[in-house]
């Protein structure tokens, strides 16, 4: 089982972003690291200067580096950024998050990120025919569907969103700016005040969602640790860990140890709740249930798959 570190979805300071990846390079047992700005084109210039150093450090540590494209491309500068990224795809590998990219990839190999709608084996096969070598499936997809896709495309590495707050929606409107009584154009980058997302609770005070600029994520944190045996039986190649403000090296080690059967999944989840405290764990999507739910592994659930 491979591990992929997803792109940092939040607006971290450039130095924090750089140093985070340096530590991942040096210490985290992940095979692939996706870098770049997928959420908001206004943030992209900040980390640009650090990209070459981060790529070099990650590659020197033996990690495969993928460059993420934007999820929602509508402004002229977003089209330019996206096109430039695709044109550089000869030298650097890209993970596309929108089909906008296909028009300018010209058949070169690529990875498809979790924001490309791959819900079935026919769509996955279409993308494979266009050059997709890896596909991270949408977080809401149940394992039954993922298993069907993986079985149909043994040559493509199929990945599941396994740790982190699941991204749920993207908009042209910035909800961070809106909460601060500003608009997207004059946002003053207020999203940097919430490096782990702005909590959105119900009026009864229950944790529900999390806002990251134009993106909305779950409040609950996905953990597929206890589902790893079923995921392996289903033929999935890779698990994605999405950066949150916590010790991501420790998170990666937990997933590595459970995947290698060196650590019991129950114990690993207990430790995960210490590494990323005060956030409920969830795996409902994988079980075909509501995403916020935490499902067990007993008879009748995924433990019984196949």
């Amino acid at each position: 089982m491979q591990l992929t570190l997803g792109p940092v979805l939040y607006h971290w300071s450039p130095e924090q972003w750089r140093d985070f990846h340096y530590r991942i390079a040096d210490e985290a047992p992940v095979d692939t690291v996706v870098i770049g700005e997928a959420v908001c084109s206004k943030r992209a210039p900040f980390k640009q200067d650090h990209v070459p150093d981060v790529v070099e450090r990650l590659q020197a540590a033996g990690k495969r580096v993928l460059h993420a494209s934007l999820i929602l491309v509508s402004l002229p500068r977003e089209r330019r950024q996206t096109r430039a990224l695709m044109e550089a795809a000869n030298e650097a590998e890209v993970e596309i998050n929108d089909l906008t990219c296909l028009a300018s990839l010209g058949g070169r190999p690529f990875a498809a990120g979790p924001f490309v709608n791959v819900y079935n084996e026919v769509t996955a096969g279409f993308l494979a025919g266009r050059g997709a070598t890896r596909i991270c499936l949408p977080p809401e997809l149940p394992l039954t569907a993922a298993a069907t896709i993986a079985a149909a495309l043994p040559e493509v590495a199929i990945e599941l969103f396994a740790f982190g707050r699941a991204p749920l929606a993207i908009s042209a409107r910035c909800y961070h700016a809106r909460a601060h009584k500003a608009t997207k154009d004059n946002c003053r980058f207020v999203c940097e005040l919430d490096p782990d997302g702005m909590p959105v609770k119900t009026l009864d005070g229950d944790g529900f969602l999390s806002v990251n600029g134009v993106q909305t994520l779950a409040h609950g944190c996905t953990s597929l640790l206890r589902d790893i045996p079923a995921i392996r039986r289903a033929g999935l190649a890779s698990l994605r860990l999405s950066p949150q403000v916590c010790d991501m090296v420790a998170v990666a080690r937990l997933f590595r140890d459970v995947a290698d059967e060196r650590l019991d999944a129950e114990e690993a989840e207990r430790r995960l709740s210490e590494i990323y405290p005060d956030v409920p764990l969830a795996n409902g999507f994988l079980h075909g249930a509501a995403g916020h739910v935490r499902m067990g592994t007993g008879p009748g659930s995924l433990g019984e798959l196949r």
């Binding site: 491309v73 509508s74 089909l99 028009a103 709608n117 084996e121 908009s171 154009d185 995403g291």
Partner: protein, 325 residues
């Protein structure tokens, strides 16, 4: 500009035809379309009859097969494509690469429209759908402003269709699993959003709370009308205060934008609401038909001016004005 009107039932289809629609869009009674609500949509036989009726009146019928196919069950979506084509649909409205690829190969002469659920939001994305599948029209997401729409029209070899009235998605369509997170049922997989089956209203301390999947979406005092808990139109609490953090409980009314949309080169105007009754459909269609007739004479309308809006909802032009962001 063409007026594209929804029909959730054969009765609504007839009402929309009689009220002056240029085209009707509808779907089969199953999970292949994004308005998969109980008691709604068309059987194969109803679609054949509906198309015949519309064609007798010179009106087109567009069939929406715009959910993402369930893995291992693609034959259900294939059958929908085949049956809609055989019934004489003037176009198929598709979102999934799987259904687009299948339809373009199996029915090369069938006109294909890219559904709003595909989230094609710029000329490069649209170029892909045109080159790969010969798409003839794209329904644009409700997150674009008029300038962006004008750019798309200018740079695309493809007609454009935009929503002008009805429900307003504030998230990019086809990329939203908020409903799925709360209820397990999603627009992309099940063709539903914030489904009624998961809604409850409870009264406590003189206030009425509306919940979705157990999450409180809104809370209303005695003098407030308790609206439907559509997730993105709820009131929530953040460290910066409580309120409608995504969008107020508004619906789209872009009547005032019609001159700008016409000048942008938009081909077709779409009214949302396959889940609405025939009286509503007839009223909205008639109103927009009148506004379009006025537009030809140089008159502009400030709103659709509809009693249908009187559900505690106010109208907005949404993302069409840049300040919305």
């Amino acid at each position: 500009m063409e007026l594209i009107c929804p029909a959730g039932t054969p009765a609504s289809l007839e009402a929309a035809v009689e009220a002056g629609a240029d085209a009707i869009y509808c779907g089969f009674r199953d999970e292949t379309n994004a308005r998969n609500f109980p008691g709604l949509n068309f059987s194969r036989e109803e679609l054949r009859k509906g198309i015949a009726f519309a064609h007798r009146h010179g009106v087109k019928v567009l069939v929406a097969i715009n959910t993402f196919a369930r893995a291992g069950s693609f034959e259900l979506w294939q059958a929908a494509v085949d049956d809609a084509a055989a019934a004489g649909a003037d176009a198929l409205i598709l979102a999934d690469l799987a259904t687009l690829d299948y339809a373009s190969r199996r029915h090369p002469d069938q006109r294909l429209h890219v559904s709003v659920q595909a989230g094609a939001a710029n000329p490069d994305a649209i170029r892909f759908y045109v080159e790969a599948f010969g798409a003839r029209r794209v329904v644009l997401p409700r997150v674009l402003n008029v300038m962006e729409i004008a750019t798309i029209v200018r740079e695309s070899d493809c007609e454009t269709e935009v929503f002008v009235f009805g429900g307003l998605c504030v998230m990019e369509e086809g990329r939203c699993s908020l409903s799925s997170y709360a209820t397990g049922k999603s627009p992309n997989m099940n063709g539903v959003c914030s489904p009624a089956s998961d809604v409850a209203y409870t009264e406590r301390d003189g206030r009425i709370s509306s919940t979705l999947g157990g999450f409180t979406i809104n809370s209303f005092g005695k003098n407030e009308l308790a609206g439907y808990p559509t997730l993105c139109k709820g009131r929530f609490a953040t460290p910066k205060g409580s309120g409608y953090i995504f969008e107020e409980p508004v619906s789209l009314d872009a009547a005032v934008m019609l001159p700008a949309l016409r000048d942008a080169g938009v081909t077709a105007l779409k009214i949302e609401g396959r889940q609405r009754g025939r009286a509503y459909i007839a009223e909205v269609v008639r109103s927009f038909r009148d506004i379009l007739s006025g537009l030809d004479k140089g008159q502009t309308a400030s709103s659709a001016g509809l009693a249908a809006m009187a559900e505690g909802q106010t109208g907005t032009v949404g993302a069409y004005r840049k300040s919305w962001r």
